[in-house]
Symmetry: C3
Subunit: 336 residues, 3 copies
């Protein structure tokens, strides 16, 4: 099939301005696109590239103001970024693997669904259940008793400790570790005694876990990642944490033990949450924040300790004016 | 064996209030426990669950005030959390593996102790020495010349570079990397020349290393983790760091090169220690702190740059009052 | 060959003070060195050890003031740290491995250069190209279509996703993940749709990637790490980031999506860079800084939000004086 603005408009429900027949051979960022490629403008910061890009087709928003000297054909859509996601999914060739490579270790008690891929040197333990079309890449580890739902993907060197449960359509990137022991020790004189961590991790459907992210098993009960939540790389989720659905959390954030977080939060990178707090839904948390107590639904917070975004901005300005403040007080004292 | 309050009281040295014969089938958190389960109250924040929990037995402290309408049998002990640790250890079935799975790579010069487990696709290099009952999980890597003491556990995808030494009863969780090169480069014009890192890592007895934690080898000599120290996930320990005994360090903390830390410190998550500092013993360091100099034994510090906990609390309050301060100065100026 | 001050002086272009014939058997840090070992003084903080060390030879700078009672032979050089690097490289036995261990998985379409090492349980995908003397350690993963230049080293459990390109003389430490999906999702009602990440990662020559560091593939186009850049452990490089040449970045730092960073920057640990910013060259960035906008070449910045190093120092002092400030204002008000 030739991919043209007409095809794209029909896939995205968009409208065409310009040549509807130009053939598209690939996707590219607007500042790098060449002739025959399609690009997009979702962020107004990049709008000025519209006149200089060599892209043949641009996916733009309904309110995009086309410059006079535009060469590219436009496809106007309601949400260019969402349409891009859809197009990339529709037009990128899928590389679904299947079959079982050798040598791999598949315990004889494991139940393996139809269409499953198991790469070389992967390890599938006792009593494991893999749903249909699950892809276990080479060198991944699936511990005893683990269950993985249909269409989930486990990349090389991902590790799932014994007894954990993974939903459908999940992606576990390389180096992620699901179900390592929670960090629990009881003081015993000068030493610490390990608290056996007998709980598990439950990851619901449609969750993506970034590279080298760690989700610890519960002391008792479950550590839970809710449906549709997306975790970036190098994140720490401690034992007995409960994360609701559709949260998006950027890299290197950490959530300490037993904290409960609601749904649909957007959390920046390198944030730290204290343990045992109850945090709302639909909040925005700025990068590098330190969250030491619960916040209500819809809060917009940042800083260390965290405060609302407006106060933080005002405080940041005033802190830079501290030298001036000290000077003014000296002046006032002199005048007395 | 039936597990009853009587068994539990005899194991923990506790005293019983209520039915001594009820049979226990599992452990659970107090807010999730069902009939036939035992739970505990160590943190007063959870005491109010005592009347609503369905748990049949509760492990509580000597000073716990039993509410009037309590259904559960109580077992009173001096330290409920420590008793829980002990009970979980005593009553949870152990899953000690043994034997050598195939294919695995065990160099013919390696010395393998009695009762050792080596999982499939594990790699045991030249001249490795594994003590008795060491468990090397599938896909773990034990480099040339590594020594591991009795009863230590190396989880899947843990990596131990050549020449490092691990003590007895240690646990290395998945994705931990022991002995990668320290970060040392000498400027050479615009470029950097690598300083070969010819030292090793020594991990003493009873140390636990969290998932995806990294401990770099020394430039020369040793990076050392002292007896009984517990490291959470995603921690960075740089080359030539020396950590004393019985330290407890939460996730995502980093310690820069050549810093020496004493014993029995409790260090929060996402803390950073500068390099080449000498830090005391029995300190408490708050989460996200930045430590750029040494502190005396017993310090309680937090913040960036770190300060004592009382000053930090006062400063945090005063910073929020900065807008007010600026207003007051304006008022004072006007009145003159 | 006997290693003596004469050999060392001739290798480093240094000059000898003392016995030129003493035989050297190893390298050590100055506070730990024994007779027959060579050590160095690059940092004046360690100069006082010169009189107490048992080292037989000391590598020191041209301006080092030799104490009266010195036992060690001195070798004076322009830059002791650089000379140390050179000596360690020249005199440390290399452990270059070669050959292909079994079982490993090498796709029949892969092109394998001369002198390559492929360890047991390593996975080499379809169409991979490995240059001369590349060392793929056991259990490493090299995805379909990956290219790796001459003399590069891939340590155990390093993962390179499909299509990424690695230059010559690179080192990828254990647990590093190159080319996992960038963190891109388009909101779709309450849910998020994954944006397929169809770009790659390009790592230029002479780059070192620390243990458990993650470099995400681009949404479209490339994520790029420039020639000679050195990344420490547990660093996050997001999709479409571009890092120039000869940057040195300490552990646990994160760089958010599409940020462009110039050359020869020195960046501390646990720093966070916001996305979509353009950052200069030859800057110094203090540990734990939060960088939310671009900075000019040669900036020296620190803090959260970041500010120049002098302002930060002044602000840190003044913040501690806040209680005093509030008191003075109270006094002023009373006097009116």
């Amino acid at each position: 099939m030739k991919i043209t603005p007409e095809v794209i408009a029909s896939l995205t429900g968009g409208s065409i301005e310009g040549n509807p027949a130009v053939e598209i051979k690939g996707f590219a960022k607007i500042e790098e696109a060449k002739e025959g490629e399609i690009s997009f403008i979702a962020n107004p910061k990049y709008a000025h590239y519209a006149t200089t890009t060599e892209a043949s087709v641009l996916l733009v928003g309904d309110d995009f103001e086309a410059p006079a000297n535009l060469r590219a054909t436009l496809v106007r859509v309601a949400d260019p970024y969402a349409s891009l996601a859809m197009l990339l999914s529709a037009l990128t060739p899928k590389s679904r693997k299947s079959g079982i490579e050798s040598p791999s270790h598949v315990d004889e008690t494991a139940e393996i669904g139809e269409g499953v891929y198991i790469g070389a040197f992967a390890y599938i333990g006792r009593g494991v259940k893999l749903g249909r079309n699950v892809q276990i890449y080479p060198q991944a580890y699936v511990g005893d008793g683990v269950e993985i739902g249909d269409d989930s993907i486990v990349r090389p060197h991902a590790t799932i400790y014994e007894g954990c449960r993974i939903g459908e359509r999940c992606i576990l990137h390389s180096g992620s570790v699901i179900g390592a022991d929670g960090f629990g020790f009881a003081p015993d004189g000068d030493e610490y005694k390990k608290i056996p961590q007998v709980g598990i991790v439950v990851i619901e459907d449609d969750v993506e876990i970034g590279a080298n992210t760690t989700v610890d098993r519960a002391t008792m009960g479950e550590t839970r990642i809710g449906k549709g939540t997306k975790l970036d790389n190098l994140i720490q989720i401690a034992h007995n944490v409960s994360l609701g659905s559709n949260n998006v959390i950027a890299a290197q954030t950490g959530i300490a033990g037993s904290t409960k977080i609601g749904d649909s939060n957007r959390i920046g990178g390198q944030v730290g949450f204290a343990g045992h707090i109850k945090f709302g839904s639909r909040c925005e948390v700025g990068a590098q924040s330190g969250i030491n107590k619960g916040y209500r639904d819809g809060s917009r917070i940042i800083g260390y300790p965290a405060t609302d975004i407006e106060t933080f901005a005002r405080m940041s300005v005033l802190q830079r004016r501290l030298p001036e403040l000290f000077k003014e007080i000296d002046n006032l004292k002199k005048k007395q």
